[in-house]
C-alpha cells in the first residue's frame, strides 16, 4: 500500500468516526427533544388552555422553564433549544409584568371618571344650567385626568410596576439577542457582541491617537 493509499484509508476511517459521532449526537438530541416535549409540552398546552390571557397569577410556568433552562449545560447539544426556552420564559414573565403594570396604570382613570361626573353634577345643580358644550366639558375632563395620571405616576406602586416591566422587557430582549447571536454564529456572521467589541477597540484606539496628537501639538507649541 502506497503512502497515498494509507492516507486515504486513514481519512476514510476518520470520516466514519465523525459520521458515527454525528449519528450518536443526533439520536441523543432527538431523544432529549422527545423527552422534553413529552414532559413540558402537555403541561404548557394545558396551562395555555387554562389561562389564555397570559398565564395570569403565580407565573409557575415561567419559573418551571427557568429551572429547566438554567440546568446543566451540555457541550454539543440542546444549546439553541435552551436559549429558545429562555426566550419563552422571559416572554411569559414580561406578559405578567405588563398585566401588573396595566392594572396600576388603569387606576387613575376610574378616579378621574368619578371626579369628573361629580363635578359636572355639582356644577349643573349649582348653575341650574344645561351642561357645558363638548369643548368645555372635554377641557375639564382632560384637566382632571391629567392630574390623576400625573399623581399616579409618582406613586411607589406605579414606579415599581414600571421598573419591573422594564426589567422583564430587557430580559426578554437580551435573551432574544442570545438566540439571534447563536443563529448568526451558525451562519458564520458576526454577532452584536462582535460588533460591540470592534467598536470598543476602535473608540479606544481613536482616543489614544488623539491623545498622542495633542501631545505632539503641545510639544511643537512649547518648542516654537
Amino acid at each position: 500500500m502506497t503512502e497515498k493509499d494509507k492516507s486515504a484509508t486513514a481519512d476514510s476511517g476518520s470520516h466514519l468516526e465523525w459520521a458515527k459521532l454525528w449519528e450518536t449526537m443526533a439520536e441523543s438530541s432527538s431523544r432529549m427533544a422527545a423527552a422534553w416535549s413529552e414532559s413540558m409540552a402537555p403541561f404548557m398546552l394545558a396551562r395555555l388552555s387554562e389561562k389564555p390571557a397570559g398565564f395570569g397569577d403565580g407565573n409557575e410556568l415561567s419559573a418551571a422553564i427557568e429551572r429547566m433552562a438554567q440546568g446543566p449545560r451540555l457541550a454539543d447539544v440542546w444549546d439553541i433549544d435552551r436559549k429558545i426556552a429562555l426566550v419563552f420564559g422571559a416572554w411569559i414573565e414580561m406578559r405578567q409584568r405588563l398585566a401588573s403594570y396595566n392594572a396600576v396604570a388603569a387606576e387613575p382613570w376610574a378616579r378621574a371618571s368619578k371626579r369628573f361626573i361629580d363635578k359636572m353634577i355639582s356644577e349643573s345643580a349649582a348653575n341650574g344650567a344645561p351642561p357645558l358644550d363638548w369643548r368645555e366639558a372635554f377641557a375639564k375632563w382632560s384637566e382632571i385626568s391629567n392630574e390623576e395620571l400625573v399623581r399616579n405616576q409618582r406613586t411607589d406602586g406605579f414606579l415599581q410596576a414600571q421598573k419591573e416591566l422594564l426589567q422583564a422587557g430587557l430580559q426578554l430582549r437580551s435573551r432574544q439577542d442570545d438566540v439571534s447571536d447563536a443563529a448568526s454564529a451558525l451562519f458564520g456572521l458576526p454577532t452584536r457582541k462582535d460588533f460591540d467589541e470592534v467598536t470598543r477597540q476602535l473608540t479606544e484606539l481613536r482616543r489614544e491617537v488623539r491623545t498622542i496628537s495633542r501631545l505632539v501639538r503641545d510639544q511643537k507649541i512649547e518648542g516654537a
Partner: protein, 373 residues
C-alpha cells in the same frame, strides 16, 4: 324643542363639524410631503467633521454687535433643530439677526457604533476640538459657549475644566442639581428625576448593554408620559384646533418632525448621565469626573448667564437655579422666563425675549472685557 333636545341637536352638530375637521386634517397630511416640512433651515456651512460630529458656522444676518464667537451646543437627547424650528420661531435666526457670530456643534445621529463614547469624549474631545477650530478660524483666544439642556451641562463642565478658553458661559434650561426637583411643589414637574431614581443602577446598565445605546424611542415614550393627556389628544382634539389655520398646522408638523428626530444617546455617556448625574447628583458635590479630572464648578471663572423656564416640567427651575451657588465666577446672572422646556424656544410668545436677553448680556460683556483676542 325641549332643553334636552336642543342639547342633543347641538352636540350632534358639533360632532359633525369635528368629524369634518378631522377629515380635513387627514387630507392635509396626505397631501403634504415630508420634504415640505422643513426645520433647521437657517443657512450655515460645514467647517469641520470629526467622526459623526459636525461643526457649522451660520451665515451672518446682521452687522456684528458682539464680536466673540458663540458656540451653540445642544444635548444628546433630541436635536439642535429645536432652536431653529422655523424662521419666525428660531433662537438661531434671532441671535444672528441681532449680530452674533454663531457656530453650531451638531452631534449627528449616534447609534450603536457610538456605544462606548462617554461624556468625557463629548466635552474633552468634540467640544474642545470645536473650540480650537473656532479659535483658529477667528483669531479669538477665548469663545462664548451657549449650552442647551444636556448641552448646558457639557459646556459648564468644559468651562470648569478649560477656563482659559471660555470667554462667557450661557446655559439654558440646564440641570445642575439633579435632586432639586424635591423642592418643586408643581405635581407635573420633575417626573424624569423621580423615574430615574426609581431604577436600580443595574437597570440602567442592562438597558444600555442590551441596546448599546439609550434608545431615542425609549426616551420619547418617557417624555410622552410626562404630559399624559397632551400625548393622548395631540392627534385628535388638538388637530381640530389648528386645521383651519395652515400656518399653525405646519407649525404642528414641524414640531412633530423635531420630536420624531430623536437620536439614540451614546451608551456609556447615557450611563454617566443617568447614574452619575440623575441618580448620584455628582455635579453638586464635585465628584463628577471627566478624563480623570474632577469637575469643580467653582473653577468656572468666566461670566455666567443662566436662563431657565419657570414652568419647565422636564428640568424643574430649582435644578437649574442651583448653578448660582456653585460657580466660581463673580459675574453670575440668572434670568427666569415664563414658559416650558420646549416652549421657551418654540412658542410664539417667547420669541425674541430669550435671544434679546442673551444678546444684551453678551454685548455688555464684550464691551467691558475686551474681545478675548
Amino acid at each position: 324643542m325641549s332643553d334636552q333636545e336642543n342639547q342633543a341637536a347641538r352636540f350632534a352638530s358639533e360632532m359633525a363639524a369635528n368629524a369634518e375637521k378631522i377629515f380635513k386634517a387627514t387630507q392635509f397630511i396626505a397631501n403634504t410631503k415630508d420634504q415640505d416640512v422643513n426645520i433647521g433651515t437657517t443657512p450655515k456651512h460645514l467647517v469641520m467633521r470629526r467622526d459623526k460630529v459636525e461643526l457649522f458656522r451660520y451665515e451672518p444676518l446682521a452687522a456684528a454687535t458682539a464680536k466673540t464667537p458663540v458656540l451653540l451646543a445642544y444635548g444628546l437627547i433630541g436635536r439642535y433643530t429645536m432652536a431653529d424650528l422655523q424662521p419666525d420661531r428660531s433662537l438661531v435666526r434671532s441671535l444672528l439677526s441681532k449680530g452674533l457670530d454663531l457656530w453650531l456643534i451638531d452631534w449627528g445621529q449616534p447609534g450603536r457604533t457610538e456605544r462606548w463614547l462617554t461624556i468625557d469624549d463629548y466635552v474633552d474631545d468634540y467640544i474642545d476640538a470645536a473650540v480650537e477650530r473656532i479659535a483658529q478660524e477667528t483669531g479669538h483666544r477665548k469663545i462664548t459657549l451657549l449650552g442647551i439642556c444636556e448641552g448646558g451641562v457639557f459646556t459648564a463642565c468644559y468651562a470648569a475644566l478649560h477656563p482659559e478658553k471660555v470667554k462667557n458661559l450661557v446655559v439654558t434650561i440646564t440641570p445642575i442639581d439633579f435632586h432639586a426637583d424635591v423642592k418643586d411643589e408643581a405635581a407635573h414637574h420633575g417626573f424624569l428625576n423621580i423615574w430615574t431614581r426609581s431604577l436600580d443602577p443595574e437597570d440602567i446598565d442592562k438597558l444600555v448593554d442590551t441596546y448599546g445605546v439609550l434608545p431615542g424611542e425609549f426616551m420619547s415614550s418617557v417624555f410622552s408620559m410626562m404630559t399624559p393627556m397632551r400625548s393622548l389628544t395631540k392627534y385628535n382634539v388638538d388637530l381640530i384646533d389648528v386645521v383651519d389655520d395652515e400656518a399653525k398646522f405646519m407649525n404642528f408638523l414641524r414640531m412633530e418632525k423635531w420630536l420624531a428626530d430623536r437620536p439614540h444617546h451614546p451608551g456609556e455617556a447615557a450611563k454617566q448621565w443617568l447614574k452619575d448625574l440623575y441618580q448620584e447628583n455628582r455635579l453638586v458635590d464635585g465628584s463628577f469626573e471627566l478624563s480623570g479630572r474632577r469637575v469643580d464648578l467653582r473653577s468656572i471663572s468666566a461670566p455666567v448667564l443662566n436662563v431657565f423656564a419657570l414652568d419647565d416640567h422636564i428640568i424643574p427651575p430649582d435644578c437649574s437655579r442651583a448653578l448660582g451657588a456653585l460657580v466660581g465666577s463673580s459675574d453670575y446672572t440668572e434670568i427666569p422666563l415664563p414658559g416650558g422646556h420646549v416652549g421657551l424656544f418654540v412658542s410664539s410668545k417667547s420669541q425674541g425675549k430669550l435671544s434679546q436677553n442673551i444678546v444684551d448680556w453678551l454685548v455688555a460683556r464684550d464691551a467691558s472685557n475686551g474681545t478675548g483676542f
